[in-house]
Amino acid sequence: MSAVAVDAPVGAGTGARGSSNGALLALARFEARRLLTRVPVVVAFVAYAAWIVWHTPGSWDGHPALQEADRDTQAMPMLVGLAVLVSANFAALRPVRHGTEQHLGVLAMPAWRRTAAHALSVVPAALLTAVCVGGQFTWEALKPGAVGHGSPAELAAGPLVVLAAGTIGVLVASLVRSPVAAPLLVVPLLYLLVLGSGSGGADGVSWLAPVVVQSGGDALPSGLLGRPAAWHALYLAGIALCAAFLALLRAGGRNVAVRTGVALTLALAVAGGVLQARGAQPSPELTAARERAVSDPALRCTERGRSTYCAFPEWAPRVGVWAGVVDRVQALAGGTARERRLVVGQRIGAADLVSDAAVPPRSEPGRVTVGTAWGGNRVPEFSSAVAAVLVTGSEKAGGELCDGRMVTLMWLSLSWQDDPMDALRRVRLDDSVSGSAIVLSPTEPLSMTEGQTDVVRRLLEKPAGGTGERVKAHWDELTEPGVTTARAAELLGVAGPREADSCE
């Protein structure tokens, strides 16, 4: 028995057919909508948004350096990435889990194009992450105290991590047809994330982690960062695309485009990995520039009032607020200190991103150091440094101070501030307002004895005006080396300390 095949299609409308690519995009949109409404993804995005709203108002005390703030957008997208990885994996495994593979297998769209749609469905999640990253960064940039420049490559890391996580989830689904694989994979990934954020990023291997945070040091001028951020973005993009193309290959997409895609994206990821490893080692020029930035930084100096302010060019907008502090402290001083010309110079302790090195005090008279951070405790700290120079002549002398001049110094530093008592608390290392304590400043800390603390506290509790006149009237004696705390208290009209000065 044989049958004759008839060539002409018989009757039967077959409905409107679109192009395969149109169908692919339609499926990608369908899957993207589902992906963005999965519980883990929603929870992750809500947590991310909540974190931004909770974290950003107080970050960097309102004075971010944008070349540092851009990196701050990278950590939380990893959380979104984990949720997207697991959810994209479960979505790609849906036909296996619910037994529809057999049915879907005879539909017009081949399995590998379905996989492609799953890979594409991650893109909106990455775009939403980009929106969050952009929102967080814009918020930082719009703060009145913001300085410096962000890097697009640093900002791209977060969305790219989400993209890579999603495509890796799809790849895992095509390799292991079990829903346990993705959650289990996440555990080692978590270590990788923690390792990456905790590492110094000094070698190429640590840059293989999705996000390398590098924190702990001073904010640096953009030119000294030495982060291979662009290569890292290339590396992440390569991984994301390579995982997607491998998933297509694995799902049966064996055509030239897919094979070429695998080869190209693999090359991209490898190139990114190699180049970022090379970029992670500071070049001799960068090392030299960093050393110069510590020892003899190239600063841009401007005159404000009597004093000169020298800052890294990116920090130039901040000169005004420094000058405001200097002017207020100087206005409280008496004698020649009122008219003294100061040179405020910006300095950093170490020019890498992870060491928290102290800046040595300057011994030249009239020199005041200011760091790259500002806002919060940095303000009374700087104010103390200015007062120390006005009272003792130099930063170095201020650090060695242990007599009654400390009372005048602290009063100058604090009395102009909105809440002097709170400023006193914040400027002291142990957040106390009684007993002896270390007082922070941009360079070496000062030390206050218990008696000096008591006197300063009594002064700050009195109206500032009366004390101000006494300070000006007795300026010379108050700033005389060797003046006792008891004498200073007497001159300023408050009760003296219970015990005589003694500096350990």
Binding site: V39, P40, V43, A44, A47, W51, L79, L82, A83, V86, S87, F90, R97, S178, P179, V180, A181, P183, L184, V186, V187, P188, L190, Y191, V194
Partner: protein, 214 residues
């Protein structure tokens, strides 16, 4: 009766998601073996983190323990679901204990955290996974709650250390003064997980109850 119990245990054993459990167990041991294999000398904090990861891996496997594709078929059989679920747990428990002991022995002894405390943490995570699976079985119609429970567990494992307030800290380092208080909290969680798991055991009957005395 005894023969029946053995038969029942055998039957339940065959329904366990053994490959999932084996995969999770193997990965957990691999993680625990990393310092020994690489010759690294981790700090106590690193070892603790490692063991927490091992515990999480095991718990992810256990999230699949109550997956039962034949759930709707076996709903009305005389051996009630709590018994079958308890049997599943009982069959796995000795193996899990052995596995955890092996993991503890694999990490460098020099930096190993107090065994009792970290075992308590691991037990809580495992029981939370089981309670989550039991809750999913009780509250939904799904026969395989494993993936959803695993995803929830992961999310909780990532979010909890980030979002717990200072007063409720759970993930503290061995030298931390809050170590003892944190483990009191872990013990409370343990009790909570056990109660929740037990409550979720019976077949869901909704608001309807069988009438008549037991």
């Amino acid at each position: 009766m005894r023969v029946a119990a053995v038969d029942l245990a055998g039957a339940v054993w065959r329904t366990l998601p053994r490959r999932v459990l084996a995969a999770a167990g193997a990965l957990g041991l691999l993680i625990a073996a990393v310092p020994a294999a690489t010759g690294a000398e981790p700090t106590p904090w690193q070892t603790l983190t490692l063991l927490r990861g091992v515990a999480l891996t095991g718990a992810l496997g256990l999230a699949f323990l109550l997956d039962d594709p034949a759930r709707h078929l076996t709903a009305p059989v005389p051996v009630r679901r709590p018994v079958r679920q308890a049997l599943r747990v009982a069959l796995v428990a000795p193996l899990a204990a052995l596995w955890w002991t092996a993991a503890l022995l694999l990490v460098p002894s020099a930096s190993r955290p107090p065994a009792g405390a970290i075992t308590l943490e691991a037990a809580v995570v495992a029981l939370l996974a089981l309670a989550g699976a039991a809750a999913a079985v009780r509250l939904t119609e799904g026969a395989r709650p494993g993936p959803a429970v695993a995803a929830a567990l992961l999310l909780a494992a990532v979010l909890a250390p980030l979002s717990l307030p200072e007063d409720w800290a759970l993930f503290v380092a061995p030298g931390d003064p809050r170590w003892a208080a944190a483990h009191d909290r872990w013990a409370v969680l343990l009790a909570g997980a056990v109660v929740a798991g037990a409550w979720c055991g019976p077949e869901p009957l909704g608001r309807r109850r069988w009438r008549g005395a037991g």
